[in-house]
Symmetry: D2
Subunit: 339 residues, 4 copies
């Protein structure tokens, strides 16, 4: 059993913990919080040992009736791999701690590529992650872009990608962040960082991205255009999506035309936390103008990287022969079949 | 086994179907839709026989790959009780059909009291529903008001209630409804219909309500004030809430101060669809100014009436000795313990 | 003086009325409403004779204290030109009335090209509108696209345009429309109608557009990419924008990165109703990848077509020698200088 | 001419500057900013001398093409009165500076009562402000409450007030603040600070308030209930409102039922920045249950205190004989007549 610690039990960390706990070859040996909160109660309810950053805050947890197992260093010492899901910019400061204790570590896309020197997307470069000490799982948007671009590139060759990312303003539970009523360019400058970030995984892809933020809480929407090298048909692209273990089709017969209806569907289908681990590609949007492929895909910012973290753990621990094997194990353990 | 048909498989209907299916003494013999949709796929996935309003639309369902069991009349003929969860104003038109086939029927709060001549809230007037042919389950807001007012009234006597309801603009999946950026008085006139609607269940309560709509999708918030007859303390009110099977406390230690954080918590605790069947009363808000009790409660508009429908079925079918027995059966079958 | 009637005194109509009233060569001879409303009071306050669609509703206006001048037919008889600003789909039904009374008419972009057989954008095809009886001013988004594409095309040749339009969910005062919390593909299918609509003005432009709706009330945002025939620099594009009477630059030194901050600026600068008649192009977004030009522009859905309607009136009445003359007259009368 | 400096040229400061500049007995001798911004451009456009907090930042302003007149201390030395409109909590730190230069100062409601030892609302306690060195204008919500409570109290006696404030999440131009989709109790505890804050102006009023924040940008909505000492009728209350120079009626014939429609109306009526200086009381909401008065009022958070600052200046400088005189001067100079 691979011993996994999750440092930072927030939006991503709590989902990674549950996904790790569901795997047959992994166990959660601890999760961490800095102060009492609803999520700390959830960790207790789930039975994950809860470690805290500053042990002198233990009385605060005691008072709230939250059980504490010890401090974060103790947790790290017991781990084979630490998934660092602390807020962007904090993770890099923990690197020394991981080096000191000789533990493997995975960071999220909020940190720069340099933190690990290697950026990961399981369906693109699983092999390169094998046995590594440090890995960075790219952000939700970059993961979503890498999956579709790489799959189309393998089949038909991708000469150039132009994409506009319309991003959610805050996660559903983040009530202090806005905007309330605005479209915010983020950044104003073109290209946004997403293009170069895709190249950290797929260095040969020629891509330019634009990005903005809008007042919604659930899912980003990508408007994607790709120039292909070979001729392809809509049907061939649909087949690629259907065959991919991390992409799903939103079919026209469902009547779903929005992120909110998609969440409702995920919830109704029994997905835990309404999580959508897969790229959600709108079947009726897939189309061609000459050799230019167009499509819309929705990306669940809280979920798509969760399964990538699980695969990264397995790759770094040499726990699966190849990407396909790991992805299948991860998906099956979660009872996840692309919609 | 009580045979239950759900006429209208939307926001409320799909939840009632799942809650009924979970009960040991009931079964879902059918649900209905008018056209192919994501929810129709869900009905198939759940294994609920799907009946359609107009059988000549069956080819549309066939084309979408959705299995149809027959037309709505066939469904009604087989049922002991029909839960009518069609949109407000449609349900009343179905009454003749239920009378024709001699089937018991339950309507939702979108219909007027007169549709059934009796308005129901299980913790208030379960006994009166026993053996009835027709019952109306009051709306989500009225249910939430009735529960807390009745419980406080029984313990300390309620002389007068003043409440302001701040309502969600649309359900999460309803993307055509607004407002986007406004506070809408609904209605401008005072009192709103909620006060009289409470009196349809609790005729002796003196209550005035005000209501407005705001741009959010999850939960209404009630700002409630009650003049009590006897002296009471904050601790005594908290005890009443803790002891009530359909009310829960949002404790300060969780740090939860909003509807969105509450939904996140419900999701994390594994509640299906993040449903909150109980009144969510903020513990730190409960307080007194003289003999005036103040508190905030959040009401999940999609969920709180679901358990009431189940109890109503049981009462009408004489399936439980009393309210407490039915409520416990319903809650246990759902694995629901108030937060 | 050109006698102008405005049929439909809503979001667009009331702005066109004020813009017409400000012109030295035009006068508003009437505006119309179907029922008493805040806008009917505004028409009275402004001194525009108010005509009503059904004269038997006059008592309703009397009761509200709103002065009525007569019925819509009377208004049309007196007009040289009618600007039809009724809701999309209604305008076409008024055509017979305009034909019957031999009056010139202008429709908005909510009607199809066929209603007038000619689609107008003053900086693109003013000459062709001269003397016409019927003209359609294209929609706000199409107007914004036509202005920038035509200007760049004239200078450097545009081989191909790819654009994603992120649209506001409702106008600020429309409180019934959503979405509250969703990104809605509108339509799911690619291309959206905007590309073909641009071609109704600029038939030789090769363009593909994608569109979605988000929960905001003020301005659409366009993410635009153009393949140019000749080499150009960022500075040359900036110069074109600065020289254009209907395009303005949002400069980096203002710190403005969003539609909401832009509205605040327009309001602070004293623009009536915070109206932005010009394409608002973010200076720092303008850039090149090879010969591909990228930029973001915000389009005020309530305002940009207003000045186009004024120019259309002048063209149809042969009231100005050329586009430049009319545009300058219109802008000056409004005291409008591009930001 | 009273020489007025505005320290902090943001949401409130820029409005106070324009209102002061419009008065016949006052002039704006300077406004201040800390860094280049859209508002700094506006100050230049308006012709207000712009002073900066740290003079070594002048090159940043030079580079942006914004003219700077000097540093803030120079501005304060020239002033008779400083209106401190810096963000809440900053103003108190400037007190020493005002004392050092012996200048009169006015703070906003974001500071505590203690900063000035006196809290002001012109229709309630103008006399007490006469000749003072320091005054605090209470917050927008408190101002709105004080106006209506005091006016009703004078006429009929107010025994007790219960009010729920539903507050906007962010100002329209603040794109970083949320919430996006939540109702946030602020605070969870009852009473909110608004009740005690009303008592800083009207110490004898018995009031309990509750408050929450919702995702909208324009106006707060107050649901107010008052127990009156004497009998009164709806018509008498309406008369009080109509006669009050800082309260306006939203009449049913306008069809306005929301904050957004109210803003649209203010904009259409030509109000600068769509500003609503008056309490906007919905005529159809005014009503009685026994001796309990109920009503809804909307309060424009950016505007209602602006006119109060102008009156406070006049009172402190002994520039008007009484409240009625000052209020009339202020209103007339702004061309403001309550709706």
């Amino acid at each position: 059993m691979i011993k996994v610690a999750i440092n930072g039990y927030g939006t991503i960390g709590k989902r990674v913990a549950d996904a790790v706990a569901a795997q047959p070859d992994m166990e959660v040996i601890g999760v961490s919080k800095t102060k009492p909160s609803a999520e700390a109660f959830v960790a207790n309810q789930r039975g994950y040992p809860l470690y805290i950053a500053e042990i002198n805050r233990k009385p605060l947890f005691d008072e709230a009736g939250i059980e504490v197992a010890g401090d974060v260093t103790e947790m790290i010492k017991q781990a084979d791999v630490v998934v660092d899901a602390t807020p962007g910019g904090i993770g890099v400061k923990n690197k020394k701690l991981y080096e000191l204790h000789g533990v493997k570590a995975i960071w999220q896309g909020g940190e720069d590529h340099e933190v690990a020197g290697f950026s990961f997307c399981s369906s693109c470069n699983f092999e390169e992650a094998k046995g590594r000490q440090f890995t960075r799982v790219v952000s939700c948007n970059t993961t979503g872009l890498c999956r579709i671009i790489h799959a189309v590139d393998e089949a038909f060759g991708v000469k150039r990608v132009r994409a506009t990312m319309v991003r959610r303003g805050s996660d559903p539970g983040e009530v202090k962040k806005g905007p309330v009523d605005a479209i915010v360019l983020n950044p104003v400058e073109i290209p946004s960082h997403h293009g170069p970030d895709v190249q950290s995984v797929l260095p040969e892809i020629d891509i330019t991205t634009m990005a903005m933020i809008v007042p919604t809480t659930f899912m980003h929407m990508h408007a994607i255009q790709m120039d292909l090298e070979k001729e392809a048909t809509k049907e061939e692209i649909i087949e690629i999506i259907e065959a991919h273990p991390r992409m799903g089709l939103v079919r026209g017969a469902t009547g779903i035309k929005s992120t909110a209806e998609l969440k409702e569907f995920a919830q109704d289908m029994g997905r835990q936390r309404a999580d959508l681990y897969e790229n959600c590609i709108f079947a009726d949007s897939v189309g061609f103008v000459g050799n230019e492929l167009f499509l819309f895909q929705a990306i669940h910012q809280e979920a798509d990287v969760v399964v990538e973290n699980v695969d990264a753990i397995r790759a770094m621990m040499n726990g699966a022969a190849d990407a396909a094997t790991s992805i299948q194990m991860t998906n099956e353990a979660l009872g996840f079949h692309a919609i």
